[in-house]
C-alpha cells in the first residue's frame, strides 16, 4: 500500500475546502493525512492514539468531528462493516463509493459510478447506498 498519495490528496482537499468555504484546520488536515497514509482501513480509536503523541489530549469527539467533516466532503469513507475509515484519493463524486476490501492484506479499492441496481422495490427512492465487497484482491489471490 502506498504512503505517498497523501500529499497530492491533501492539496486536492485544500482546494476543495476553498471552493466550498470550508476550513481545513490543522486537526482536520492531520486526521486526513493519517487516514490517507494508513495501511488499510483505520479505526477511530487508532487514529486517536496516533494523534495523541502529537496533540497530547485528543479525545473521541475530536477525531469523530474531524472524520464527520471529512466524510461530508467525500474525502473519507466509512467502512460500515468494519467500523473503520478509508481515505478517498479519487475525485469525490459524492454519491457513495463502492468498496473492495481485501481480507488478507487490508487493501481497499474504490469504485465510483457503481452499477445502479435495477431491482429496487417498486417506488423505492434510494438516497444513500452502502456497498462493500470483501474478499481477496488480485495480489493475495492464490
Amino acid at each position: 500500500m502506498s504512503r505517498s498519495h497523501s500529499s497530492e490528496a491533501l492539496e486536492a482537499a485544500e482546494r476543495l475546502c476553498q471552493e466550498r468555504g470550508e476550513r481545513l484546520t490543522p486537526i482536520r488536515k492531520r486526521v486526513l493525512e493519517l487516514v490517507l497514509d494508513w495501511d488499510g482501513p483505520v479505526k477511530a480509536y487508532d487514529l486517536l492514539e496516533a494523534l495523541n503523541p502529537e496533540a497530547g489530549t485528543a479525545k473521541p469527539p475530536t477525531v469523530y468531528r474531524a472524520l464527520d467533516f471529512l466524510m461530508g466532503l467525500g474525502l473519507v469513507h466509512k467502512v460500515e462493516a468494519l467500523n473503520a475509515f478509508v481515505g478517498c484519493t479519487h475525485s469525490h463524486d459524492e454519491g457513495g463509493a463502492e468498496l473492495y476490501i481485501c481480507n488478507n492484506c487490508g487493501s481497499v479499492r474504490e469504485r465510483h459510478g457503481a452499477a445502479v441496481p435495477h431491482n429496487a422495490p417498486e417506488g423505492f427512492r434510494i438516497e444513500r447506498s452502502v456497498i462493500e465487497h470483501f474478499g481477496h484482491c488480485g495480489n493475495c489471490n492464490s
Copy 2:
C-alpha cells in the same frame, strides 16, 4: 409492518435446523421470533431488554450468540450501517441479501440474487458483499 410472518418463518427455521443437525434452542427461537416480529431493524440491546422480562438475566453474550447462530443459517441479517438486525423471511440463498431500508418508516425489503457488480478490480475475488440502500419506500414517498 406485519407481525405474522413469524410463525411460518419459525417453522421454516425448525426445518432448516433439522436438515443441518443444528439445534433451535428456546433462546435462539425466542430471539428469532423477536427479530421477525420487530417493527424494522432491531438493536442487539433492545433484544436484550425485550428478552429480560422473560428470561430474567440475559446478558449481551446471550443475545449475540443467538444472533450469530441465526445469521449463520441466514435466518437473520445484520444491517451493518445501523448496527441492527433484521429477520429474513425469504428462502435463505446464503450469499448475502441486498437490503432496502426506509429511513422514514424503518421497513426493510430484501432482495436476493443481486446483480453482480462487474466493475470489481482486476483479480478481486468477492467472498462477502454488504449492500444496503437507504431512502424512502413506496409508501413513504411523497
